[in-house]
Symmetry: C2
Subunit: 497 residues, 2 copies
């Protein structure tokens, strides 16, 4: 059995390594590749992806898994070997259900659709991408239909990013959140308007960058096992557990953009950097779901990075760096500026109170399209209507309306957005639990010390990688199921406390 | 037949793409990879290399080549299809002769040996790498022995980088060159000593970089299909014909280092950028040999970049950029400084007159080790003895002696060095031919115009890629065989004219 397990691990290492190589091809494309490299890069990315996929769905992997099943059943379910066999089994079973031809066509379509979007968005031309989006919807349904027996057609798609979650349970959770969030938001908005002009000044990029890198180094992002580069859209990517990179962007007339995007991506990266090295190049060497991943980026960005305690420590240094801009701005004024609540049209720039409303709009529209109750051609209007009803504000055009997010133009319709709000909910649950274990954490944050929090997160979440599903992890860490109460209580305390 | 040819092309595209992906993994390792990424990167590079090799030696490729043979014989030998089948046949026949296990072991040993060298060189510790070098010699012989029937054991190794060249013919050529070069060098050295203090001042890196990039843009290096980054050792690499990158380094106390290394690498890159796009991702989409490649880097670096005409155009701009350093230095003084002839111990820093002596020492020592007339343990002394007899100077230790070049510590012993001098010889032949066709070229260089020369090189050399072997190319371009006369005549004219 040991020999079979070793053979399985060898095969999985190659699958993983090819995925990691794909990630480098993509990183280079977004950071340093000259324009002339685009055509070949697309071809090379799909070749490497295909080779990795072929190695995963190799029938020999299925036979090894079958042979190892009795062995796995005799193991402690919490053991690494049991987890490896369990997680691989799920991935394998999912992967073999999707015909390689469908996958290749969908990927090819995704690349073309992304290209079209990069042109259509600045041109505010929804009509130009509507046929592609219709095809995307069709492909998404075909993909879901590879998993017959689902309760909701979105379930298999949600399962890709948040394994174990279903449309119905997410819908219920989101409905509850909405019910609590909307009156809370009203209450916050009835307060005097916050002056955030202090962060809307000129802040030279090089200084922003130096400050951000100092902060994330303090948080625990390891630059010996990562680096930061600039891209149009910030992201985290990984080429091994020893090489977890982030990207950022800077807006010289708006300090908060670059700074919090840097902290956000470092949260994703610390999760990956914290995975136990023994899982290197195995299916366990990943954050376990989109939601848990987002819980870490949002925890570091918002719960820590937008807290009073945090700025109590960092603000004097920031003032020193930008004496002309911030020398006369009080800590309190700055703190309020970076936490200003104001309905807006762009999700990625939304404040903590309205962010989830953006996410829920997208989640509902995805489901409606998949169900067939919303036609793609009606998406722009539906989008505007929901922004009007939910946020009381609409974008002036589709560019900042239904064309604003890349997700539907690069991957499936379905399963792309729920993770963001699941992440917020889990971040509050995890943070509460960390405070129960270490009540000194807020005081430490106020001294610029993050080791206890980082250590607790590593111990309870990061090191496990994909060993436990999100639901299992929540259960293990908090002793209960997913609940919005800690999140609502956190928001209420922060914005109305 | 068309269908078979298409299938062959499809297979070769994957082989090529995997090689190009390997190149990106390597580029990233040398430019931006954090230290923590090293272990996984080695693993991923060997995986991708192995997959590419497996696809090349797939028996299906052999069958396609067999089936296409009668078709190829009916084609014009100068046609692209005939060339593709011919070049692929040679590569395939060579590749299938080498047992994959030997290749894997040699690659693994090469990586370990390289790592050991990076430690041993700074520590001046030849003994530490001697056993590895002995193993390298053994592997090199095993590799050569995959090709029984050779005249000299180095022949198969030379053939890897300079196809069609043999130890005997190179030896003869080099002996002739030596015979002419040594008295010429003596004559040059009998002249008054050149003062090169002007280039040994402080030159800030950012200005050096800006100047170098302006120069190579003028020469014709296309930044839309490439970019320049910094590495410890400069190199050119390629991820497609649309993405040909170079790297450079700067020495702030020595202007010539960064500048001429930038021009040198841009010469390699212009060769690759100039290959006809119709060969993209095929075995023809490469410079045809190490020698021809080096002819282009050396032509641009030395024949053009170290010429009086060139600096007649660029020197005023350089003075403007560095007024304190060069404001009072005349063009003639500067020109002499960058062309100072002086025997030294480091090959890569050698002047045009002594460079080939460095190369020939290595070539002879390689052959002696392969033949068994020189033991690896005696290499340090043999190295010193040859420098003493050939250049009248010896390094103070092995660090700048036999440990100075990476070649034997990363690849085979044999075939690694002859290309440098073959390149010098061919550069002079090609340049003479270009002048015959376009006598206006030197005047154009004096006006900072390089289009005619670049166009002639593209037309006669670059666009063909690997379609013709070096010998065939020399024949086509110059109408004759490889000869040292143009090179000697060029050196004599430049240094004693």
């Amino acid at each position: 059995m040991e020999k079979k397990l070793d053979e399985l691990k060898d095969r999985l290492r190659e699958v993983e390594d090819l995925q990691l190589v794909s990630a480098l091809l993509n990183w280079d494309q977004s950071t340093y590749m000259p324009p002339g490299g685009a055509a070949a890069r697309g071809r090379q990315m799909s070749l490497v992806a295909r080779l990795g996929h072929e190695k995963l769905i190799d029938p020999a992997v299925g036979r090894l898994l079958d042979d190892l099943q009795p062995y796995a059943e005799g193991l402690d379910p919490d053991s690494d070997d049991a987890a490896l066999i369990r997680v691989t089994r799920r991935q394998y079973d999912k992967s073999v259900r999707v015909p390689p031809r469908l996958l290749a066509q969908f990927n090819e379509h995704g690349a073309a659709s992304y290209q079209a979007w990069t042109v259509a968005r600045p041109a505010n031309d929804f009509k130009a991408v509507q046929p592609m989006l219709e095809k995307t919807l069709d492909f998404s349904r075909q993909l879901a239909d590879c998993f017959p027996g689902y309760e909701h057609i979105a379930d298999p798609l949600i399962d890709y990013s948040d394994e174990g979650m279903k449309a119905e349970s997410v819908r219920t959770l989101f409905a509850n959140l909405r019910e609590q969030l909307v009156p809370l938001l009203k209450e916050v908005l009835s307060q005097p308007v916050v002056d955030d002009s202090s962060v809307h000044q000129f802040f030279p990029e090089d200084k922003q960058r130096a400050f951000g890198e100092r902060v994330i180094r303090d948080l625990g992002y390891d630059f010996n096992r990562g680096r930061q580069d600039k891209t149009h859209h910030p992201f985290m990517t990984k080429f091994s557990l020893g090489d977890v990179r982030i990207t950022t962007r800077f807006q010289e007339d708006y300090l908060a953009n670059g700074l919090f995007s840097t902290i956000h991506e470092s949260g994703h990266a610390m999760y990956e950097q914290g995975i136990d090295m023994k899982y290197e190049a195995s299916p366990l060497a990943h954050g376990t779901s989109a939601g848990v991943h987002e819980s870490q980026s949002r925890l570091w960005e918002n719960v820590v990075g937008r807290s009073r305690a945090f700025w109590g420590h960092y603000y004097p240094g920031l003032q020193e760096l930008f004496p002309e801009q911030l020398g006369d701005v009080s800590l309190e004024t700055f703190y309020r500026a970076i936490n200003k609540v104001q309905p807006s049209v762009i999700r990625t720039e939304a404040d903590q109170m309205t962010y989830d409303l953006h996410v829920m709009i997208r989640f509902d529209l995805e489901l409606a399209m998949l169900e067939g109750s919303l036609e793609v051609r009606d998406l722009p209007d539906a989008w505007m209507a929901r922004y009007e009803s939910d946020l009381g504000i609409t974008a002036k055009d589709d560019r900042d309306g239904c064309l604003q997010d890349v997700h539907w133009f690069a991957g499936p319709i379905g399963g792309s957005f729920q993770g963001y709000t699941l992440g917020n909910i889990m971040a509050a649950m995890f943070y509460r639990q960390a405070l129960l274990a270490h009540p000194e954490i807020p005081a430490q944050i106020g001294s610029g010390e993050f080791g206890t929090l980082h250590g607790w997160l590593t111990d309870n979440i990061y090191r496990h990688g994909a060993k436990f599903t999100a639901n299992d992890l929540v259960q293990r860490v908090t002793g209960g199921q997913l609940t919005i109460e800690p999140y609502i209580s956190y928001l209420r305390g922060k914005f109305l406390g």
